[in-house]
């Protein structure tokens, strides 16, 4: 039985602080790891996807590449080919900018892989560029997480990719947490393409009371 996407609806929207009724978001699985362990297929997939770039060349790296392919296959199976052909697929910018040793374009690679699976006929555009690298929350020693407006201020649109104007925009990311990054990205794209439908598509949503995947890494690394 092929999997279907799930909608972020009124039952689960409160789990994602920044999402409001007008935000159209979908996800495939749920990220639910706790206590430093990840048993489920989804948790393992996220865990492998988030393996850090400094692991390139180690035996762990092939797991990341396989996770990218698996994620692409899952998206391609759950989302209608017609939609994937019509929409412009935009990766959520990574937290580190290009040139930073921590730069990780895994979401962009997933989208390109979807394109390969659909015979290349997919419009993937890195429309959003992050101005400055952001330290992951746990590495900043806690404190306040940025709001969507602050996140938007750190993004700019790549004007060279503006045309042709998209008819639908799908912002893709691996895990939906508070929704702040989606909302920040949406603010910038709404400004650039007024009236265009913008949809968030996630591999998994994080359910309440689970550990942050970055913290999970810290625990496992330690």
């Amino acid at each position: 039985m092929p999997l279907r996407l799930s909608q972020v609806d009124e039952l689960i929207r409160p789990d994602h602080f920044y999402l409001a009724e007008g935000d159209e978001c979908y996800f495939i699985g749920e990220y639910s790891a706790r206590q430093g362990y990840a048993y489920s297929a989804t948790n393992q997939l996220i865990f492998n996807l988030k393996k850090k770039p400094h692991l390139r060349g180690t035996p762990q790296w092939p797991h990341k590449l396989e996770a990218i392919r698996t994620a692409a296959r899952q998206f391609a199976k759950c989302i209608s080919a017609e939609w994937l052909h019509k929409a412009t697929l935009v990766p959520m910018p990574p937290s580190r900018v290009k040139g930073d040793p921590g730069y990780d374009d895994r979401v962009y690679r997933i989208l390109r892989e979807i394109g390969t699976l659909l015979d290349g006929n997919v419009d993937v555009r890195e429309l959003l560029i992050q101005n400055e690298s952001i330290e992951p929350f746990h590495e900043r020693g806690g404190g306040r997480r940025p709001t969507p407006e602050e996140i938007a201020e750190n993004y700019h649109l790549d004007d060279t990719l503006r045309n042709p104007p998209p008819s639908i925009i799908g912002i893709f990311d691996d895990v939906l947490t508070t929704g702040s990054h989606f909302k920040g990205a949406k603010l910038v794209l709404e400004d650039a393409f007024p009236g265009t439908r913008i949809v968030g598509v996630f591999l998994a949503r994080r359910v309440p009371e689970t550990v942050d995947v970055e913290d999970l890494f810290m625990n496992l690394d330690g």
Binding site: Q7, D9, Y26, E30, T42, C78
Partner: protein
């Protein structure tokens, strides 16, 4: 047109919950009838069978009952959506929707059900505790039904050993039975995993005599969710035997402790052994037989 172009058929947890609850409010509904209904319409989700307005109204009713019972966080597992355990389809009448509280990830660990009578003998109690300790040493997650007797010992021993446990209950998440296990149920929901397939609204609208029929039904689900069932002690009429039948039907391993065979009043141990159940003289019988399964 692109403004409304669908990404494909998707699942709204809110509507599916309301639709499942609404289907159950109809007099004809049972796990058997609902499973037959979805078998005839393999592509349908509960929301395909219920008007949207009815689904939303019933979802509100269910949510209100959960809120009154102080259930703040709960999750759903819906057939055709992510994280639904495909193992459930091995049940004779598979459920389309499950409620849960806690750490869903546990269901993907190696799970073994330890079940038995609500009124165990002192020897049975000791055997259950010993068995759970051995299983825990072998890193198994202990699944049981939160009933009195063997179930309670199974959960408590697992927790005392610092291991993982899963409760599959015969009431909705809003209720617990027996009352003495209310605290244990809450502990399992908070720190481990609590699963219920019982419809919340229907349960609240009918009496105990009918609601008690939900108990044996959860045993079928418990078997489907686990790789093996181990029976510690059970009478000829015990609900535990429903799980034994389910385990055989679902091709799960069924272990029966030796003492059950030695009781001359019981005919079921030999019957299930002839159908493939494994007689456990020693814990090694369990260890060896489980070693070969993934």
């Amino acid at each position: 047109m692109d403004q409304s172009l669908s990404l494909g058929r998707s699942i709204s947890p809110w509507l599916e919950m309301g639709s499942y609850e609404a289907l159950w409010k109809q007099g004809w509904a049972s796990f058997k009838k609902l499973a037959e209904c979805f078998r005839e319409k393999p592509d349908a989700a509960p929301s395909d069978l219920v008007p949207r307005e009815t689904a939303e109204k019933t979802a509100h009713e269910a949510l209100e009952i959960l809120r009154k019972a102080n259930v703040r966080h709960f999750g759903l597992r819906i057939h055709k959506a992510g994280e639904y355990p495909e193992r459930l389809r091995d049940a004779h009448y598979p459920v389309e929707l499950l409620y849960y509280r806690g750490w869903w990830d546990l269901i993907q660990t190696r799970c073994v059900a330890v079940v038995g009578t609500r009124k165990p003998t002192p020897e049975g109690q000791a055997r259950a505790a010993r068995l759970v300790k051995s299983l825990v040493e072998d890193k198994f997650t202990i699944v049981s039904g939160l009933a009195a007797g063997i179930d309670t010992i199974a959960h408590r021993t697992a927790i005392e050993c610092g291991a993982r446990t899963v409760g599959v209950i015969g009431t909705p998440l809003s209720h617990s039975y027996p009352a003495a296990n209310k605290h244990l149920q809450e502990q399992i929901a908070q720190d481990y995993l609590l699963i219920s397939q019982v419809p919340i609204v229907r349960y609240s609208q009918q009496g105990w005599k009918i609601n008690r029929l939900f108990f044996p039904e959860r045993n079928v689900t418990m078997s489907a969710l686990t790789e093996a069932t181990i029976i510690v002690e059970a009478s000829e009429t015990s609900g535990t035997l429903i799980q034994a039948r389910a385990a055989i039907h679902q091709e799960r391993k069924l272990f029966i402790l030796d003492n059950c065979f030695k009781n001359p009043e019981l005919t079921w141990p030999a019957r299930f052994e002839s159908q493939g159940a494994i007689r456990v003289r020693d814990y090694e019988d369990i260890r060896t037989n489980l070693a070969s399964t993934p």
